[in-house]
Each structure stands twice: as structure tokens, then as C-alpha cells.
Amino acid sequence: MTIEIQSLTLSYDENIILSKCNLRLTEGEILVVLGPSGCGKTTLLRAIAGFVQPDSGTIHLNGKILNELQPEQRNIGMLFQRPVLFPHKDVLGNILFAYRKKKERKMEEVDEIMKDMGIYAMKSQTIETLSGGEAQRVVLARALLTNPELLLLDEPLSSLDLDVRRQLALEIRTTLKSKGIAAIHVTHDHEEAAIIGDRIIEWNELHRLESE
């Protein structure tokens, strides 16, 4: 199972953001894309997710071509820079958002993942009461419950302080590895990159790498 991106190009207002990007990921691999703020890492992720359309190039996920698919059809999970939790639901409610229909809910699975992430005790709390790190854990738990084929992480740890960042980076890696989920993580932090990734690519390299 692989994720493959070929010659992805995207400009916005005459600025070239992605220029013939090439990327390849094997099953269960965690790739870190390292680059300074504002270089276009987020745009890359949004293109993979389907929120922006590339000018040219293809995105393959496990043999499917994703280009024509809506984001909700791609079976990709994403963590944003700010944890996105719905204010009208509590912690458990947010996690259960992973299931679109009530009858699909598997409460044992939910409980298990909450315990794994260390958030089981908070399940009735309102989201305003969570710390940044706790919130990202909730978001991650929710994303994992959908069994995504690929997880995109857009600097989810950047607003957390150092200790929490290190801790959470490790937890993310452990969890992803245990479930065998491939991920692309973008960041500007070298230490975080080293903790999380199996492989690290500099932003500029993406644009030079030939497809193998």
C-alpha cells in the first residue's frame, strides 16, 4: 500500500507554491516534511486532502487516483494547527463525531482509544476546559477512529510548550506505529521531526526528487 504524488503543481495569484512536487510513502511510514513557516507545507497537505485543486499532477492512494474525489471521499484524516473541536459537543461527543451514524458506533473501541490517549477521564468535560495538548489528543483519537488510510498532520504541536510537545510527539508516533497508519507530518521544528518521523525530507527536496 502506497501513497504517491507525482508532479504536483499549484500556483496562487501568480505565486508558485508547489512546483512539480514528488512524494512517495510506503505502508505505515511516517514522513516528516521540514520547512520554514510560510513555504507552502500547509498548501501541500490541503491539496492532498482535497481542499485545493492542483493545477497539474496526480495523487494516488493505494492505487486510487484522488484528484477528482471530494475530501470526504478520500478516507484521509487530518490534524490542523489549532485543534478543531466542535463547541456544541463535549469531549465524548466530539470523539463520537467519527461515526456518522449512531448505529455504527462502537463504544468499546471508543473507550479503548480514549484510554490509550489518556483522555478517558475527561470524556464529559466541555472543550473549553481542555489544555492544548489534551485537545489535540482528542482530535487525534477522533481521527484514528475513522481508520484513515493516511493521516495528515499540519504542525499540530506548534502552539504547545516544549515538554508537552516532546511528549505528544512521542505518543503520536507510538500510536501511529501501533496501528500501522501512514502519515505525512509537516513542521519547522527539527527536534519534533526527529522524534516523529521515519524519514525526513526538506521542503526543497520535494521539488527536486525524481519519481522512483
Partner: protein
């Protein structure tokens, strides 16, 4: 591409419903007068009261709007900030004025201002302008200053609901951490600075919307002006008294000229005001996280003493004229010995319908049915139009969005007389059977309430962080599923506000000029009140019966509000 076309349908339907009647009316009036709308404006000065009416419309509208904000803003503040017991009841009570038929409101106020009434007994004679008010008149040179003050107060009373409904939800959903952050910064040390640098930017667009809507309602005020300031005229009042003769070839052409010129001028002024609101909202809107109301309120805590007193006073202000109306319904004058007696006779007559074609009970059920139908139509249509505008904005087509925004406000900018003429002409030409249809009144009601809905939902849509939608998409939710599970719940507060305003307006509306006033089975409570008050009242029960009918309207409004407000918050940190 396909999606955009589908989105355009509600806009086109809505705009069509507005523009076609206007076009028909203008065409007919131009035909009859041989004049263009703009030359007709110039001939307004030929009418003995034309210039005076324009001037007064403008001045009193601005003053009314300012007064309404001055009174309403503190109330919205106190209500939005703190935890209140029975908040939905307080809100319902404060919205009642908006629903009151103007003629009844006028009576209520006159009861407060009359000789021997509560206001006059503290030395403020607004009705006969003796004492302090008389001195005010002579020093300022403004004749009828007492009447004008009374009018401004009545307008403020009426439109209080607008300020509260536009501003309070905004205050209630701003995350406390924003204010907390700014308090810790040097710039936020003083209260004045916090108002200037934080609260004002946060609230200014809602306040501006409330100001402009109050301006519009006051500008087009008719009945209140006639009752409270009988020597004064607004443009709408001038058009309303003569408007029935407009649009008829070879008959009283000057009436057609008046309506053409007056409505065009009024339309330009009001559209400009609305455009300003829309433009400012678009440019200056601040999107931010929203939090649930209960969280925000819990942080601010229980109301302070000042808040309690303030809100209590506002409840007195809101309810006093209504209480006086209720009292008038059970107090019958005995002219032969110049005394009063207490009796429920008027209620009996109202409920059994002895003085009117239908009874108050039948009218009540009509009122409710129309109000709910209107609410459903206007919220659905308003949401569709608002989300279309928002979609255009998001795609960078700001000018298109702006144009649609302003056009969709048109129903508020138009004179009732003009629209009535247009609808009459249009329906007669295109589909005369429509006049027999029971559901006909829903159309003008919905046309007038949809702009409010748009005005309330558009900022809510703008402030919906796109990452909520995107996250749900990543979790596999389709567009429709996101609509149901994300957008609606996050906008619930605004949707309920829009719904209640829509119900309120429909209940209190008796837009007589919009449709042929078919008496009988279609009569609503305000229409009944209007019919009764238009009668000679030799028979001393006529007025009490009108008051009883109006009281019934108040009661049902109150109940409907309290029920609808229940949808706004549910237990457990609800939104």
C-alpha cells in the same frame, strides 16, 4: 459549477418576487404621471407637506435609532454577559413590543403620557406640553417637542428587540479568553480602553445593523407618528393616506406623482443605509471562535446589582404600555355618570366575535398559522440566500456578493404603498386566482422578514470557522451531513433568533397595503384590532374589545417566543 447554479435558484426566486412587483408599480406610475421617478422626486416639494415630511422622517429616524441604541445596548450587554434565571422569559418579554400592533402601542403610550398618568405626574407633560416640556419648546423653538419626545420613546420601545437580538448573542458567544487577554495587556487596563479597543470592534457591526434597522423602521413609521405627534408627517404617512388613489389613469394624478416620487426617494435613502450596513459588515466583520453561551455566561457569573436594576427597569419600560392596554380591556367607561367600571364584557365580545366578522379565537389561529408558515419560509429562504452570498464572498466575488446582499434588503426599503400597488397589478396580470388563496398573506410576511434572517445569518456564516467544516469533511461527512451536523448546530443561536424575529414580525404585521384586505376567514389578530380601532366608538365597548384582542395577541406571542427560545439552549453546555 452545478452547485453554484443550484445556489442561484433561491436568490433568483427571491429577487424575482421583490423586483417584479416594483417594476410593475413603477411602470404603471410612470405611465399614469408621464414622469420619470427622478422628476417625481422633484415634484415632492409641490406638495404642501412634502419637504417637511422628508425632513421630519429623516431627523426623527436618526434620533430614534440613537435613542434605541442608547437604551438597548446596556440591556443587551447585561443580558449577554451574565447568567440569568429565566432568561428566555426575559427575552420574550423584551421582544413583545416589536410585535405590538402600532395602533395599540400608541394607545398604551398615550395612557402613560396623559394627564394624571405616571409620566405627567412627575412633571413631564409630553401630551399637552405644559411645564418643563413647554419651556423646552419655547427655548429650543421646536414646536411639539413633547410629542416628538413621545414619538422617539415609542420608537425606541418598539425597536428595543432589534438591538437585543442583534447584539446580545454576539456578546454571549465571544470567548472569555479574548477579554481576559486584553485585560492583561497595557492597552486594556482601563475600562474605557477595553471598550475602545476590544468591545467596540467586536460589536460594532451588530450595533450598526441594529442602528440601521431601527432607522429604517422609524423612517417608515406611520401609525405611531399620527397618534403620538398628530401635527407631524413622515413620507410614508403622506403616501399611505393618499396612496390608494395611486396608479389609476386619469384620476388624481397628483397622488400617483406623490407615490412615485416619495417611494423612489425613500427607497434611495433606505437602500443607501442598508448598503452601508452590508458593506461595513463585510469589511469590518471579525470572525472569531465562538463558544457556547452557557460557558461564556458562567465565566462572567451572576448579574451585578446594577445589571439587575437595569434589566428590571427595561422590563418595566417594555411592559408598561402593554399592561395599560390590558387594563383598558377590562375597564369600561360609563358616560352618563362619567365613571368607569371593571368588567370582562369586552373579552366576551372579542372571543365570540360579536363586533367583527370573525372572533378573536379564529383570528388567533390564523395568526399562529401564518406566523409559523412565514418563519419556515423566511428562515429557509434566508439561509439559502445568505449562504449564497457567503459562497460568493468565499470565492472572492465580493462585488457580486455585495450586490445580492443589498438587493435582498430591498423589501425593507420599499414603501408599503408602492409594493401593494405592484403586487396588486402583478397578481392581477399573472395569476388572479392567487387572491383567493388562504396562504397569500405568507408571501408579503416572508418577503419582509427574510431580510432580517439574512442580516442575522450572514454574520453567523462568516464567523463559522471553515476548519469546522473541513474537519467534518475529513471525517467523511458529505455536504448535506455537514449542514445538518455542523453548520446548523453551530448556528443554532442565530437560527433561533432569526426564527423568533420572523414570528414576531408576522404576528404583528397587518400589511394592509400588500394584499387586498379580504375580511373574514383570513383575518389575523392585528387586522381585527385595526378594524375595531378604525370604527367610530360611540359604543363604549369598541375600544376595550380592540384592547382585549390586542392583549390576546400579546399573550400568544409571549408563549410562542418562550417555546421557540427553548430550542436555543439545552442542558449540558449546550449552545
Amino acid at each position: 459549477m452545478v452547485l453554484r447554479n443550484v445556489r442561484s435558484v433561491p436568490i433568483l426566486v427571491y429577487l424575482g418576487l421583490i423586483l417584479i412587483p416594483i417594476w410593475l408599480a413603477v411602470e404603471r406610475l410612470m405611465d399614469v404621471t408621464g414622469s420619470s421617478p427622478f422628476s417625481a422626486i422633484l415634484s415632492l416639494s409641490d406638495h404642501p407637506l412634502g419637504s417637511e415630511a422628508l425632513y421630519f422622517s429623516f431627523i426623527q429616524a436618526i434620533l430614534s435609532a440613537a435613542l434605541t441604541i442608547a437604551i438597548g445596548l446596556p440591556i443587551a450587554w447585561w443580558l449577554g454577559r451574565h447568567q440569568w434565571k429565566h432568561l428566555n422569559i426575559i427575552r420574550a418579554a423584551l421582544t413583545l413590543p416589536f410585535v405590538t400592533p402600532t395602533i395599540v402601542a400608541a394607545m398604551g403610550f398615550l395612557a402613560l403620557f396623559k394627564t394624571g398618568g405616571p409620566i405627567e405626574s412627575i412633571g413631564i407633560d409630553l401630551r399637552f406640553e405644559s411645564g418643563f416640556i413647554g419651556r423646552l419648546s419655547s427655548t429650543t423653538g421646536i414646536e411639539n417637542s413633547g410629542h416628538i419626545i413621545a414619538l422617539l420613546l415609542a420608537h425606541a420601545w418598539f425597536n428595543l428587540a432589534l438591538v437585543i437580538r442583534f447584539v446580545e448573542p454576539r456578546i454571549a458567544t465571544i470567548p472569555p479568553r479574548f477579554e481576559e487577554s486584553i485585560r492583561l495587556l497595557p492597552i486594556g487596563r482601563t475600562r474605557l480602553n477595553r471598550v475602545r479597543y476590544f468591545w467596540w470592534p467586536m460589536l460594532r457591526t451588530s450595533i450598526a445593523s441594529a442602528f440601521i434597522f431601527t432607522f429604517i423602521f422609524s423612517f417608515t413609521s406611520f401609525a405611531l407618528v399620527r397618534w403620538l405627534a398628530p401635527d407631524m408627517w413622515t413620507l410614508e404617512a403622506l403616501m399611505a393616506v393618499e396612496g390608494g388613489a395611486a396608479g389609476i389613469p386619469n384620476y388624481r394624478t397628483e397622488a400617483s406623482l406623490l407615490v412615485l416620487g416619495g417611494a423612489t426617494l425613500q427607497g434611495i435613502i433606505l437602500l443607501f443605509a442598508l448598503g452601508l450596513a452590508g458593506y461595513w459588515e463585510q469589511k469590518k466583520a471579525i470572525t472569531n471562535d465562538i463558544v457556547s453561551e452557557s460557558f461564556s455566561r458562567k465565566t462572567a457569573g451572576k448579574p451585578s446589582r446594577v445589571a439587575r436594576i437595569g434589566v428590571s427597569l427595561s422590563l418595566v419600560f417594555a411592559l408598561a404600555p402593554l399592561v395599560s392596554m390590558l387594563l383598558s380591556s377590562v375597564r369600561i367607561r360609563d358616560r352618563s355618570n362619567e365613571s368607569y367600571r371593571w368588567s370582562t364584557e369586552a373579552w366576551d365580545i372579542a372571543l365570540t366575535g360579536d363586533l367583527t366578522y370573525v372572533s378573536a379565537i379564529e383570528a388567533l389561529s390564523n395568526s399562529i398559522v401564518y406566523a409559523i408558515a412565514c418563519m419556515l419560509v423566511s428562515v429557509l429562504l434566508g439561509y439559502a440566500v445568505a449562504s449564497s452570498i457567503h459562497a460568493f464572498e468565499s470565492k472572492g466575488k465580493k462585488k457580486t456578493a455585495m450586490a445580492i446582499d443589498v438587493l435582498s434588503m430591498l423589501p425593507l426599503a420599499l414603501s408599503g404603498v408602492m409594493v401593494g400597488l405592484g403586487v396588486l397589478l402583478g397578481v392581477l396580470k399573472i395569476w388572479p386566482e392567487l387572491f383567493q388563496w388562504y396562504g397569500l398573506p405568507v408571501i408579503p410576511h416572508a418577503m419582509l422578514t427574510t431580510p432580517f434572517v439574512i442580516r442575522i445569518l450572514l454574520p453567523a456564516l462568516r464567523s463559522l470557522d471553515s476548519s469546522y467544516d473541513e474537519t467534518a469533511a475529513m471525517l467523511g461527512y458529505s455536504n448535506f451531513q455537514r449542514f445538518i451536523n455542523v453548520r446548523i448546530p453551530l448556528m443554532k443561536s442565530s437560527l433561533v433568533v432569526a426564527a423568533t424575529l420572523s414570528i414576531a414580525f408576522s404576528l404583528g404585521e397587518f400589511g394592509a397595503s400588500w394584499i387586498l384586505l379580504r375580511s373574514g376567514s383570513w383575518d389575523t389578530l392585528p387586522i381585527l384590532v385595526d378594524q375595531l380601532m378604525a370604527r367610530p366608538k360611540y359604543f363604549q365597548l369598541v375600544e376595550p374589545v380592540a384592547m382585549a384582542t390586542a392583549s390576546l395577541l400579546m399573550m400568544i406571542t409571549f408563549v410562542l417566543f418562550v417555546i421557540t427560545e427553548r430550542f436555543r439552549e439545552h442542558q449540558g453546555g449546550g449552545f
